[in-house]
Point group: C2
Chain length 738, copies 2
């Protein structure tokens, strides 16, 4: 967490989402070593001839700065692929990003047609959202939860018979209280952590990386499930209105995920515009339903309509009540979206984010409380083929255009709610990857400034889960609560530690608020994990520690990599190489370092070039000429299946002029790769300080199927040499005509 142990960070620069996160700056001690290494280089460079670094061409592509000349078609001007403003610096234009091959170009253009043209890195700041755009984009998950949250609560209660439904209102009240506490708690988090990353950052910062990773793991599962659950609930809003579509549930869901994938790969701004309208439409639709519903209820004196009798299948135990509460609490999923996404707001980010969060929670409380009350007054109960909102809407408006509007708005926001996860999941992975706990490829911003790898990973995972559960919302709910409430709990416990550590103004009051939120969330977490364990929560309970373990293993690997790749001060030249050279000749330069593969300056490198030759044809002679013209000593090696063939080859070698030392290896078992690798290994063991460069010709064919006609010796060698230190493979391409 070294890079983020900031103070109250309101004035830290917002560099967190920059594409150069893939290229972190060097630390001062690294720069010091670099300077020291460079001084050793000076010694190596000093002995060079004066013209040594005169290049045979100008790498600034001088020619490209001339005015474009007419092409052979007479009219088309040359497309500039590189521009140059400063000396020694080029700017790659969009054209330079196109692949070389014809098929690749067609694919690239098709992709652009769907995803839009690439965006330059400098556009990253413009891709920010106003509050009125951020509100719908970030709140679709949270607000859409009311479409399945109250139903999930009632679906558990009804197991204890229709009498138990009287507990629905008190339980809904408890959920509302939880919402307000957690929402207020997150307001404090947004202010304290203006770079976003929410639970992961807060928990890591205050409680340590393991807790942070646990929160991240919870959220990662939560985001995946958000997509699955929202899509499932959205499809069931559609099938409630149009029962004929029920059998297309799964393909419709997958289609929805595909559309979300494409939309999000286009990048953050377009996604915002695309998803702003439906959220507002839903809010309007829900408010309309509440107003008309309560008006009708008021006209009958707020009298509750009769409930159809339901037979109890379980007793009304505390367990059932707790399970109902935990299920209802899934209405809160998505409340953390703003705290993760602070940097996408326009400056001043934290202030805009906090305001948006307040709006969101207020709307949520109104909708959740209102709907719960209306459902209670309507006397409807959960039904397998019809959602509760659909039942209430049918009761309020009859089946007609208004009913259709309600259902369409619900389906739309649910299908798009998943979009919040598409905003947050890649961003969370970015932060986790920046701390080396996830593969570094999640740091890479796509050419539309979206984290394409994260977006694709989310889509694949969500589609798999959706398929596995056949798109049934209520089966997915038990998995849902555990991950998200783990993240809430840890995030708010972290805030308590944060306040205690910084002891700013009113820190007692703030810590108390966060502590209360944390405690409430912990209760929900334990309730959900225990009461829903058998129904699927065990998957999440198991997956979270596994994900944390995986993250720790990834971090360990990267740590070792950083250690292995760290610049080391050049050691004092030793007396000689680790194993004394036999017949080494006059090239006895000192080598630095005593371990292998540590050469950091030219005088440390001791070369020997090996050219395996099968036949004396043009390809072999090119490889030999290449090797011999490099400079270091060269010898050739020929592998032969039989003595006669070896003699014949040696004769041809003599005819050629025997210009290089030739070593012949008879391989009576006719294998080529294995003996060559063993031979190179033996050479390496003989003199571990000598860096072997193996020069192999590589036949390049025009058509893919032609590859089947050749044995790619260089590829097989490369794979076989994977474990061998100190062997460089240089492949000299020989392009074959078609």
């Amino acid at each position: 967490m070294g890079r983020d142990e900031g103070e109250d960070g309101a004035d830290r620069p917002t560099v967190t989402l920059s594409p150069s996160a893939e290229f972190p700056a060097l630390r001062p001690e690294e720069l010091a070593v670099l300077r020291e290494v460079g001084q050793r280089w000076s010694a190596a460079i000093r002995d060079r001839p004066a013209d040594w670094d005169e290049l045979p061409l100008d790498p600034s592509l001088d020619r490209y700065r001339h005015p474009p000349t007419p092409s052979r078609f007479g009219r088309l001007a040359r497309i500039e692929m590189f521009k140059s403003d400063e000396p020694d610096q080029l700017l790659a234009t969009e054209t330079a990003n196109l692949p070389q091959s014809g098929a690749g170009r067609v694919l690239a253009r098709l992709r652009r047609g769907i995803l839009g043209p690439p965006l330059a890195s400098t556009a990253v700041l413009q891709e920010r959202m106003r509050k009125l755009v951020a509100l719908p984009v970030l709140s679709s998950d949270l607000l859409s939860s009311v479409a399945y949250g109250p139903e999930a609560l009632l679906a558990v209660l009804v197991l204890a018979g229709s009498g138990a439904l009287n507990l629905a209102l008190p339980l809904a009240g408890a959920v509302v209280l939880l919402m307000i506490v957690v929402g207020t708690s997150y307001r404090q988090t947004v202010r304290a952590y203006p770079h976003g990353a929410g639970s992961y950052l807060v928990a890591s910062d205050s409680l340590g990386p393991r807790f942070g990773l646990a929160a991240a793991a919870g959220l990662i599962l939560d985001y995946v499930l958000t997509v699955s659950v929202s899509v499932a609930a959205g499809i069931s809003a559609i099938t409630s209105a149009l029962p004929g579509l029920t059998r297309f549930t799964v393909p419709l869901g997958l289609l929805a995920i595909a559309v979300l994938l494409a939309g999000n790969l286009r990048g953050v701004r377009v996604a915002g515009n695309l998803f702003a309208a439906p959220t507002y439409v839903f809010i309007v639709a829900a408010v309309l339903l509440l107003v008309v519903g309560f008006t009708q209820a008021g006209m009958r004196g707020f009298e509750r309509l009769p409930t159809p009798p339901v037979t109890a299948v379980e007793g009304l135990t505390v367990l059932v009540i707790l399970r109902a509460f935990a299920s209802g609490a899934t209405s809160m999923t998505g409340i953390e979206a703003v705290s993760n996404a602070v940097p996408v707001f326009k400056p001043v980010e934290w202030r805009n984010a906090r305001t948006t969060l307040t709006w969101m929670v207020s709307i949520l409380v109104v909708l959740f409380a209102g709907l719960s009350l209306l459902i209670h007054l309507s006397g409807v109960v959960p039904h397998p083929n019809q959602t509760l909102i659909s039942q209430v809407a049918r009761q309020t408006f009859r089946t007609g255009p208004w009913y259709g509007f309600i259902q369409a708005a619900t389906a739309m926001i649910l299908l798009l709610a998943a979009n919040t996860a598409y905003q947050d999941f890649p961003r969370l992975l970015f932060f986790v990857a920046r701390d080396d706990y996830a593969p570094r490829r999640f740091l890479h911003m796509g050419d539309r400034l979206a984290f394409s790898n994260g977006i694709i990973a989310l889509s694949v995972a969500a589609a798999i889960i959706f398929l596995a559960f056949g798109g049934a919302t209520q089966k997915l709910i038990p998995l849902y609560a555990v991950g998200v409430f783990l993240a809430f709990t840890l995030s708010q416990a972290g805030m308590v530690v944060h306040w205690r550590r910084h002891r700013g103004r009113h820190w007692h009051r703030r810590a108390a608020l966060n502590g209360f939120g944390s405690a409430l969330c912990a209760i929900v977490l334990v309730t959900a994990a225990v009461t829903k364990f058998g129904e699927g929560a065990w998957v999440v309970v198991l997956a979270i520690p596994l994900l944390v373990l995986l993250a720790l293993r990834i971090r360990r690997h990267y740590d070792r990599m950083h250690h292995a790749l760290a610049l080391r001060p050049p050691s004092v030249p030793a007396g000689g190489p680790g194993q004394p050279a036999e017949g080494g000749g006059p090239r006895d330069r000192a080598v630095g370092g005593d371990d292998q593969e540590s050469e950091q300056s030219p005088q440390d490198v001791r070369h020997l070039v090996v050219v395996p030759v099968a036949r004396l044809n043009l390809a072999a002679l090119r490889a030999l000429a290449y090797a011999a013209s490099l400079g270091p000593p060269v010898f050739a090696v020929h592998l032969s299946p039989e003595q006669e063939e070896a003699d014949r080859f040696r004769e041809a070698w003599q005819t050629w002029g025997d210009h290089l030392r030739l070593e012949t290896i008879i391989t009576p078992y006719r294998a080529i790769t294995a003996p060559l690798v063993q031979y190179l290994d033996s050479l390496h063991k003989l003199r571990p300080d000598v860096l072997l460069t193996v020069v192999v010709p590589e036949l390049m064919v025009k058509r893919p199927w032609h590859r089947l006609l050749h044995t790619p010796i260089d590829q097989r060698l490369r794979r076989a040499l994977r474990g061998l230190p100190g062997v460089v493979i240089a492949s000299v391409p020989v392009h074959l005509p078609e």
Copy 2:
């Protein structure tokens, strides 16, 4: 066919099946060019320092000739991987063929346990067969055909009702005549072409390569079908005896193919021993059946038993008769096996082969004629769940041990008949590949001296066909006749041309015999193709020209490759490179040749080394040190997503000492590979005579899953640079700890 246009070849050396076919000798004109190229090298080498070719180590692995020293375990001696008898020559021992990695070694040992230890190339002569071993190995296909041939004949006749069965004996007589003619014809072929390859070689040699390829294509399909049909018929011999196994037909067949695959990968000698006994057992069983059957028939005065009445579904047309004849002629499949396999006989090969062929045809005629007659006398008709032989055997011996013996022997030889195809298919592919009409990998002898690639290809193809037809023998028969009779026809037409061309003793008589055979086979071929077209023969009729076309395309590719790789006389040094250099500096050496990638001697090569650097860590510094120590001029290029990152990198570069020219490319779209490739392409276009060497560090991880944590820039570069001429990629390995 250039290499095989021999005379009456009895005294040509038997080099055809040598493992060095992969390394053909250079032709005199190639040697002349080689000498000329070598003289240009002399000029290049002359200017070198005196110690230039002194190597820092002894490539003869001098150290390995010392007596083995105790290892750190105190007792184990070092395993010698290379032995050396002559200077500059090493002999790879068996150990040198083992892979380096632990998992690879375990796999290799497991493979050896199943397939046996590798055999040295010098063992190729010992892997020859005596006549008494060759007879069963090569004749199992031919002799086993009598198990389904007579049945295939009757199965067609019976369509015209039981009355048509009277035609069975005359038709069988016609088939016997055909057998004798074709057998005698092949005797002449074996003598004339002692190197084997039968139809392919004969037809290519006399009629031209296209006819040869048509014959080869016919045989290739024939061999694949031999495996499928024999396995299918073998399994139905088993299920005739044990009806309970009928539902396991497909898995049993696949198991049989797997056993054949493993057995044949072990190599030719073991396969011979393994498959000798069952053929003899089958001959004994068949003769026993004939003797007892005819004795019983004789006791009742050779009276024909009553035939169960069968309703005619077709009229007795000429078409039905011809179709029955063509189906019965499948009893001859396998007659060409000896002529293809002459070289596996002990010397004198052709004489032993001819004798064996005579034996085989004699046994075939006795068994086919005898069984046809016995079936006729027994009055049995084809039955879907019981083979004819099974019915006759049940009638003769009652169901009991003798019946079981007959069925077991039949099943055994049928299951093993496929082995003939395993002998011939890879050998045929070897000859086709030696003429560049098939992928060169079919030239490669495995470490058991068997052509592993051909054996595996055959097994896969046969298994697919077996699966596609559900293991039903009679459905496969229509596909069978076309390919094999095409090969017979072409082979014997070729012999006619051969005799006419050479006009030796009795050439008229010999040509007449082969001509007669050819004509008969052509009639069968046309009959089979026309009458069975709708039943599946169309697949073969279509596949043969496609295979020929494919072979011609492969040949064209290899021809172009040979032309492209042929040694060219070095052209007179031109005035300068194709495009004049701008600011090329004092290194204006002349370049030879005016096309790209034609450098054949060191002075033709003009180097420029490019090192792409992402971060200044140990890996980058190693790549820079490697590049700078090689000799040619070097510059570095850094791709940056943002201006600030580029400035930061340049500062670090200054800190290091700015020892090399640095070019920065800003890629605002964050792609790395595409702009780099475009940049290299631009450099190449600027000076096509300069060979660019791109030095990239390659991170090597210990565990496979760690690869997911890294972006393999060098692999992506290599793939992207596939189309670019004049760019060498050298990857400097950096091994990461676990």
